[in-house]
Subunit: 113 residues, 2 copies
DNA sequence: TGAACGTATGAGCATTCGTTCAGATGAAAC
DNA sequence: GTTTCATCTGAACGAATGCTCATACGTTCA
């Protein structure tokens, strides 16, 4: 396998993040790349919700939601506060909100053809 | 499993896209949620590249790149033009570029703590 | 303290995914 | 036509994923 356009290749390489950064970016998108997890994230776009309410919204077990929330927490997509026995989750910042809305916009656009 | 905050739940539900839309949004993020595919997409941020040059950049076989490009094509993340025997790929629009850069920004921010 | 409730975690299983290998398709040059 | 080269596709296999079940943790209230 040979390089056909060395100039373009080195231009591409020069703007490319390091392997660790690429892996982290992939991890963030992967976290949102699952129906259950985007469902959770979209549900949190405008309100905070506790785990059992999230389970009701997305329609899987409380345990399943908790497992997915761990992934979203680890990737700094959601955060939570304790309210007595409850854990109330929210999106971590407007940055995440923006990504979600771009994703939504992208799929709505794609439907037009 | 019971609903604890009916008001918040219905607020969440009222802003939620339909199941099909949610699945499509998840599919788009999932497409970018793989190291190889996001590597490809990031390589295309500023240049067009043919398949074999992409293989050189991301470091897997040309066949593997082609398989992943199919997924990115199907989800309207990349498009391509033919140049003789070659297929030259590019990001489909600035929308996608914006999503990628938000993802990059998010991971760079997360590193600060 | 002990019971009750919401949440988190670990194991196990079915399913999905990404890769390579081998071969097919299609375009250009002879 | 045939050869060559770049790309695409299908099969197959190991690795990773998401769910449920059962159980543990931690907080509240009696």
């Amino acid at each position: 396998m040979t390089i056909v356009h060395p100039g373009e290749v080195s231009r591409a390489l020069s703007h490319l993040p390091g392997d660790t950064d690429i892996a982290n970016i992939a991890a963030v998108f992967d976290a949102l790349g699952d129906v259950t997890r985007v469902h959770i994230a979209l549900a949190l776009l405008h309100v905070e919700l506790c785990v059992c309410d999230l389970a009701a919204v997305v329609g899987i077990s409380q345990s399943g939601v908790s497992h997915q929330l761990r992934i979203l927490r680890d990737l700094r997509i959601v955060s939570y506060r304790r309210d007595g026995k409850r854990a109330v989750y929210r999106l971590i910042d407007d940055h995440v909100r923006e990504v979600l809305m771009l994703g939504l916009a992208h799929t709505l656009e794609s439907q037009e053809n």
